[in-house]
């Protein structure tokens, strides 16, 4: 990194507002990019959001940005979305110098939409953790309080957006890796329906579950990015050939008459009292907007946690077995131990977990969405923990600590359903809290409509962490 430039005043612009300013000519892409790079430099020592910055390339793009819906918008992305010829570490020492052979389809689409790519963002090792710790590249820290975790595995993506460095960032989510860091950092994170967004050119964690999605300050900003990256892709046969709705219009839509379902069990159990109070306040905001709130009874949630775990561990372990055998020392002990479990899962157990999936998601949707447009539930059941409380990368406590972080998010990966984290206030420790909206397959528009309406009625997303001194 270069000498630290003077820090510009904090910006309160959202991506949508910045795009409007660019269109009006009241700001230039070059100025926005310079500001983003200055903020990246100023924050790096405090939060460690970036693994690599591409200042020269970013400035070159910003000097003459392509026209498009994201023209001139500074972004950066999780370091597992490949760019041909560039190093993509995937948060692992094994890939410290590994150059990607292809460019991820999502990056190509953002390039075509005119976005400016500042570089690659920190992440949990092989996208395998929920805290943001990383023994190889250092932990990404929370901009609201650097003693606390940023969440994982898309830790740098959420931290960089929260710190106002970039207007949006892509992450990936196999068990909560977009929603958990978004919740920890007080920004919006959307895990789309499995198949909504191409994974071509992205590192696989567990292909049956992996999703790529946006993190941004607002649901409206998330809609703007999702509109660019969603849709079928010849390079990824799992990307669904289903029409992409106008997410921007959805985010501007009225929510009066919509219905939120609140699960009667599991998600609201063992909730920290402060988190419960903030969720209750958010629920009242929805009711005040004319959203009906009804209880829903969901089937067998505990087993979803187990099924997701079996699929994740079996698939990740299969991908990693050769590297685990050849380079065991190159893994954090906690992750290595977790993946050892996956190697011993019987094929019949893994196949049972996959075989049950269509019937389970159909039964879940019948129960959850017969009378509701979306579910309303917590993301983290606890206040955002400290780095010290969660420093278990080399400990036998790894599984328990990470499982608690993703307790309320994992089910939606097994179900393949869209789910979005939306900030809803701060607990007494000064860290953000968030609620989660989950919907039926390909109902991202409904989640964006609800999330954006909530943000129009509240101002949590206008809060920004204090820049480092």
């Amino acid at each position: 990194m270069t000498d630290r430039p003077p820090l510009l005043p904090p910006t309160s612009l959202t991506l949508t507002e910045a795009a409007a300013s660019l269109a009006r000519g009241t700001v230039t892409a070059a100025a926005l990019t310079d500001q983003s790079l200055a903020r990246a430099e100023a924050w790096q020592g405090a939060i460690n959001a970036f693994i690599r910055r591409d200042d020269v390339a970013a400035r070159a793009t910003a000097a003459s940005p392509r026209p498009g819906p994201l023209s001139g918008i500074p972004m950066a992305h999780k370091d597992m979305l490949y760019r041909q010829g560039s190093v993509s570490t995937c948060g692992s020492a094994l890939r410290r110098d590994w150059r990607a052979p292809v460019t991820a389809s999502v990056l190509a689409r953002l390039d075509a939409a005119g976005a400016v790519d500042l570089g690659t963002l920190g992440m949990s090792e092989w996208a395998g953790g929920a805290t943001g710790h990383n023994v190889h590249f250092g932990a990404v820290r929370n901009p609201w309080n650097t003693a606390h975790v940023a969440g994982g595995s898309s830790s740098g993506s959420a931290a960089a957006v929260a710190a106002g460095i970039v207007f949006a960032a892509l992450g990936s989510d196999t068990g909560g890796s977009i929603r958990v860091p978004a919740a920890c950092c007080g920004v919006v994170g959307l895990k789309p329906t499995w198949g909504r967004v191409s994974r071509a050119g992205a590192m696989s964690r567990a292909p049956s579950l992996d999703c790529i999605g946006p993190i941004a300050r607002t649901a409206e900003d998330v809609a703007a990015v999702l509109a660019v990256i969603a849709g079928p892709d010849p390079a990824d046969p799992t990307a669904a050939d289903i029409a992409v709705p106008d997410y921007g219009a959805a985010a501007r839509g009225d929510v009066r008459g919509m219905t939120l379902g609140i699960p009667e069990a599991w998600f609201f159990e063992d909730l920290a009292p402060e988190v419960a109070a903030l969720l209750e306040a958010a629920r009242r905001v929805f009711e005040a907007m004319g959203v009906r709130v009804v209880p829903v009874s969901l089937p067998d949630l505990h087993v979803l946690f187990t099924l997701q775990g079996v699929v994740t561990m079996a698939e990740a372990s299969a991908l990693h077995a050769p590297m685990m055998a050849a380079h065991p020392e190159a893994y954090a002990r906690g992750l290595f131990g977790r993946q050892q479990v996956g190697l011993a899962i019987p094929a019949a157990t893994y196949l049972d977990a996959l075989r049950l999936r269509p019937g389970v998601v159909a039964a879940f949707c019948r129960a959850a969405f017969a009378a509701a447009d979306a579910l309303f539930l917590p993301v983290l059941p606890i206040e955002v923990p400290t780095l010290a409380e969660t420093d278990v990368e080399d400990s036998a406590d790894y599984g328990a600590v990470h499982a608690r972080m993703v307790r309320n998010t994992r089910a939606f990966n097994y179900l393949g359903l869209p789910a979005m984290s939306v900030p809803c206030g701060f607990t007494a420790n000064g860290l953000p809290a968030a609620f989660q909206l989950a919907g039926p397959p390909f109902a991202e528009a409904a989640l964006l409509r609800l999330g954006a309406a909530y943000q129009r009625a509240t101002a949590w997303h206008r809060s920004t962490p204090r820049p480092p001194a």
Partner: protein, 67 residues
């Protein structure tokens, strides 16, 4: 019922995959995998879902169309 044991785990990890594992860790893994396999088997029996002809992606698309 005889559960998976440490020696079986060691044989799978070291013998089949070449991944070293201590005896103590193999015993933990044996317990974990036994619990997972038992839970999934119980779910498969309890849910008694019919074998569908559609894959998961097709199910998601069909559910989206049905709304």
């Amino acid at each position: 019922m005889t559960a998976l044991d440490a020696s079986a785990v060691k044989a799978i990890l070291e013998g089949l995959h070449g991944v070293a594992v201590t005896e103590a860790r193999a015993a933990e893994i044996a317990r974990d995998v036994t619990a997972l396999a038992t839970a999934v088997r119980a779910a498969a029996s309890r849910l008694a879902l019919e074998e569908g002809t559609e894959g998961f992606a097709a199910t998601l698309a069909a559910l989206a169309r049905s709304r």
